[in-house]
Symmetry: D4
Subunit: 248 residues, 8 copies
């Protein structure tokens, strides 16, 4: 609404073409519509259908239950990450169909049916110890409405296993690679596929692994060009990111 | 070519339906067609039209000239990154229409006309000191065939400047955020747009910036969920990544 | 007490105006009054009204109780930081009106009524996980006699929430910003207010957060000029510092 | 301007109490006055009188000259930090009264006379090698309109020198402590004065000093409570911060 | 199988020298035999006789039991590393002759008798606290079929003890040196023997040892030229490596 | 035994002055007496009277008891560091007069009366949280036969307390300074005394203290010249070192 | 020379079978022959044929020339590493057949013909920027008498190139893998060959590569078991180590 | 002057035994004589004979000359460390007998003859590259009046060289060990001598040496108990420290 629009509106008021309440309604929105904030709201509207998300780590069972209780008053699906089994039991009392992924430590509540994308996200991991991050990523991707294909245990120390699964990896619209230790898998896959690769370093390993730092640096320095990186063990962030891309 | 196909081929040989040389030709490709390697080749074919890329840092002027000379025998466009002006002069002798971006330190040679995408990549940066990385990213994105919009100098210390450019950022298909110092811009934009955000930490800053480590950690720990990160100052990698997404 | 004062004193002794013991008493203090040390004492006097402070971490319940017991013999208010609930119970036996902030882990004992400043300290935080540090800062600021306004959960990932609270932040005499993860909030606020901003990085986050290092470096490298930083999770230090400024 | 105000305005338009252009003028400001952005502008207005600042590091002589040329079209004082002598010579051609502090590497241009505060900022430093940071802080504080007292070479290895200057340090409204190596001076002064202490670690030292990291960590871990810290060698930031406090 | 071989095979089919199914069988293997993958398999064949290995850390007792149960269906020896006593008890129920090294935290199952090498691996360690890594290395080396000599407690602080054992160290075909703290033992031995030295830093120590980083850096910077390094506490990796060399 | 001595011996053999067995006995010792090893033994002899030392961390109660049992067969005093109370109880059953310092976590057994030095070691510490390291240092220094003076709680945040104890610090032959947080005390004392200062950083502190790294770097970068440093929390090492100096 | 030998010698002296000077000569060597030191010498003897090595970095041209001049008085081959071209010119004046590898920065002087091993060392590298380290390793391996096969530019971003060279890598007795950036090549090769793999991280890369730290950590954390690591850019050390293994 | 002394003085005033001015004079000094400050002065007096020291790094040639000029007005010897040859030439113009150690980068001026201690400081170093630090330590120790013995090039990679010099090392009153790379020499010597060992890590080395960090950590974690450490490359600090001990 530019200056001319407002002038015209005022003239309509003056000339009784519209009544004051109608004009008021149009002007009321002005500060919010013209500025970034209106856009924030619009863009949040687009997010309708997205689940509410709770990061449970560092919260008490009571806090998690109270937050979920409040969320349940709305019509959204709900995802709890880094949730303990005790948290799940407390949530289950509120909503009996809540589900728990004990490996990925996620709570999921599905109140609304979702459409699922035709294109899929491939979640590829190196070793069995990376599975908790794999599961967190998978639960996140699914409740965001994505089709997911998991390809696990294809670490570079036995690279023939990776090659036999290459078709399914290449068929994805976006690939999440989850690996600890030296994180070499991200570079190898980055060199084999022509899709966006989101790398998740995990804290798996010992010694000079330094809680995932080794894999993190390795992935940031990947010699393959299509690789970007999220934080250590951040399966949720990778899947959230992949979902945005998958739905482009 | 599965088991049945091979059996059928052999029967055709036995029954003289096809001669041995023809059968040989079909079988010869077998190992390469059936396996990942064939696919590597196919996927490289898809990359036809992609420029050849030279990372010039640490190479001598002579080495760069020789590599470009060889590349010019093929029909591809060429991108040289981290190139000095001396390298450019040497390349210009080989190909007079070579161009140099002195801020971004890129050499570009365009032998073939490219299509440009309708959707665009927004490249957003915080301060004037981040411009070299901005330019490297822009040159990379363009030679990969992408429409690009640059929005520079919108750092969070004067956040109103960012808000006045929000429309153009939100209109992009993928957003590259380039920032040094504390790298907060990636989080702020990640919270305002619903598109994939690729964050590039830069080594701009002093003191406890530690050559970009501060911005890198900041971006990895972003509280906004749609942000992934590439290596410090890696404008090329961010643009390559963004190009893959922009063309999905 | 200057040279003339001492000369006069000696003459009073000589003239029997005062007896030797009285003169001795006055002279005895001399080294401490005339030097820096005297000033230390004077300056400590100015601090009368300040609470006694115990840092409880790493102490046993018995040690905390004994220290508080001794402190209670004096007329000061008392603040215990990093205190466990068990410590609180032991202290409560000594002084029934002792209070415990379970989130901030502080024990407070108010034996004397305090004046409260008209100007106030704004304590702003990014996420709910930063609340323990917020509460420690708030309890510290209050027992030091400051009016406090808390503005929580205004992280940069949803920056519109911050803008709706900007008035109250700008109205403060000094602002404490408490944030973990990437700590971007300090820079954003530093760019929006023209008051001293004391930033407290928190250890909230995971992966490459490295126990608060990410937020610490981010805040030290803030592109906004009015920001200074205290140690990770140091809500007490920030509030003590803010109190000095608020009372200037 | 709330809902009732707008309604009343519209009624005045309808009843011809005010004409449309007047109403338009009032409404036009609405989005900017009611929101944070208006406040940004107001608060920038308060900053009138503040110098324009250029961080010259990483810029070419030409870039610095061009920026200063543009700044000179406005009526503000100008401060250039991290400026080389060559930059100064280029600026001097534009404005003959420009001054250069070769130790602090600052360029200052004073087009307007400034008021100077009664209260002062004490700038205290440990060794002669810290002087460049001292000078940068002093030039910054002065062009921001502050009275400044410098107390240099009072490192803790000869602590008696510090004590003989304690009066002047204690008389300040805010104290900047600049120290490299182990940075112990900040803690010692923090324990002796009851004013806000802003500590600046410097990169002075060798070996395990790691470019100022040693002093930085030391200052962040100060056992004295009134100390906050800015980035390594950031004399400008410390002075800017101190100026805000000094003018409270 | 080269082009000629295939041609000949096709001619045999045509001439009815072999029937189609036989030809099919030969061709079916083609992609795998001709390429690297075939070689992977061949090379795995060479590994027959090698034990199956489970890295037990981070697995549950149930997971370890299930994996061992599956492994027992094959004819291999089994090595479990980083195994708890509870894991051992669960494994013992499956195979009564399983053995547990409580210091080295290994489970070993020997279903097949192994040849033992004539040449031996010397495992040398500095202090008694390094013994867990020594034992893990020894159990690994032994189940891989190597003769082992242990020389413990010969740290450099009492270097005469090392000299009295020098003969046995020099007699080895390959030497593993295990040391924590400053890891100097690797350099001293590297200077005294003319055999490959594999150094294992251990996390033994306190303070600025940083979980083995001190010994790791020390060993990487060894002034003796024949020393290579594996990860902190990685007794298994060192022994696996040494076994390859010992069997050359 | 030099060349001449051996020649003389051989002549005595030839001339039947001594018989072959006697000559043999003298020659047999030759390699050990003439070389460093003989000296090692001699120098160990000089250490007679020194206590046996056990570093108990990481050992089981049983291991500690067995080692002490063996040590008790010899006539030396015994010092156990980093010992738990359970270890003490087990040792007490072996030797009823064993003593336990619960703060310093040391076990001491005195079988022999020791001379005590006239000169003394001053052990100076900053805060009450440093006391465990102080006690470990004190017990070590005492059982090594040194007179010790403890001066605790003289941190630099209240530097007047340090000055009132300066006489006793200056009277020492060697000074141990134990401090955590920013470790500034070492520099301050290093500037005030003209004796060797051994600094012990402690892991006391929080946030960016990084387990003592802050104090360690601070002490290594001390601007006072007479300061050397031992490992974090290493009270034993400091006292052992100080004892050697005190007995020079 | 054991006890019996000495007894017999003494009897020969007594019986005048040998004269005293001859006996003296034999006994004089005793301490050195019987002990470790003798063995040091013996083992150095075994090294005859090994080249003399000079690490030229940090030395002046004059120093290098003087050292080489001295070495030339002996009959050994000579290897200079990290040598500048100026150093080479100075050496060439002393010995005209000296050779310079400008990429690997080595000087080699061959005064004696060497045998070359039948088995070979494979030197495998990822990118063209790793070539300086490759060349240093190759020159070292060759002057130590080893047959060498170089396989360069087989980085994991185009893994098919690696597979086409797998035969020659597997045929080696020991494999050196040289890679910068993320160093993934070491893991991939470690999983494909059953030979000792010595990994050399290089400082190639930028941003969060931290001078080779990324590749170093990656290689230390390799998921493949037969990999050990030497220092960053240490081509010499890797080749020295490989040579020992190749000659076992 | 204690309480009794003051009482007596006052009585003398009262009884006219001394006049007021005399009493005044005595009292006036009181604060300075009785307190630490007086002692600071006394203790500085003890330092008479000590050289004046200038740390030249980071100073201009002019600054160094001006400082030396001022120092020459006093009667002390002078030591300049980290001095360039240009600085030396400028100093030589002021004082023709100034000497320059080009390896150690020290300037020395001897105006007064010094006594030299009977006992000596042994300065032991590992490699030729450590010589600059050795020379700085030697020049410092000598101008402080100490007898010095240098034992260079006795690194642990050829430990027999160390043993042949052990006598002279053991004869010292205090030992300085200077070593880069892995710094193992400090531990080895610490285990062989019963004297205070001051270890100086040097920045010699490459790769994961990290500018001396490797040697620093190694020395701090030394398994030998009599070792303390100074900063990287700090030959001056080590010698200053050793001199204090040598003169005890």
């Amino acid at each position: 609404m530019n200056k001319e629009d407002i002038k015209e509106l005022l003239e309509s008021v003056k000339n009784n073409k519209i009544d004051i309440d109608e004009a008021l309604g149009k002007l009321e929105d002005l500060p919010f519509k013209e500025l970034g904030f209106a856009k924030i709201d619009n863009h949040r509207e687009l997010r309708v259908g997205y689940p509410e998300v709770i990061y449970c780590e560092g919260k008490t069972v009571e806090q998690v239950r109270d937050i979920v209780k409040f969320m349940l008053t709305k019509d959204n699906n709900i995802l709890g990450t880094r949730a303990s089994y005790e948290m799940y039991l407390a949530v289950k009392e509120l909503y009996n169909d809540a589900e728990y992924n004990s490996l990925g430590r996620t709570i999921t509540i599905r109140k609304k049916k979702q459409d699922v994308t035709d294109s899929y996200i491939a979640i590829v991991s190196a070793g069995t110890s990376d599975l908790p991050v794999v599961e967190e990523a998978m639960e996140t991707a699914k409740i965001l409405g994505n089709r997911v294909e998991k390809i696990t245990d294809v670490g570079v120390a036995g690279i023939h296993r990776l090659f036999s699964r290459l078709d399914i990896i290449r068929g994805a619209k976006v690939v999440i690679v989850i690996a600890g230790m030296e994180g070499a898998l991200a570079s190898v896959i980055g060199g084999l596929v022509n899709k966006p690769v989101i790398a998740v370093p995990t804290s798996v390993g010992y010694g000079a692994n330094f809680g995932g730092l080794s894999a993190l640096l390795s992935m940031l320095n990947s010699c393959a060009s299509g690789v970007s990186v999220v934080n250590i063990d951040n399966g949720f962030g990778a899947a959230y990111n992949a979902s945005i891309i998958n739905k482009l």
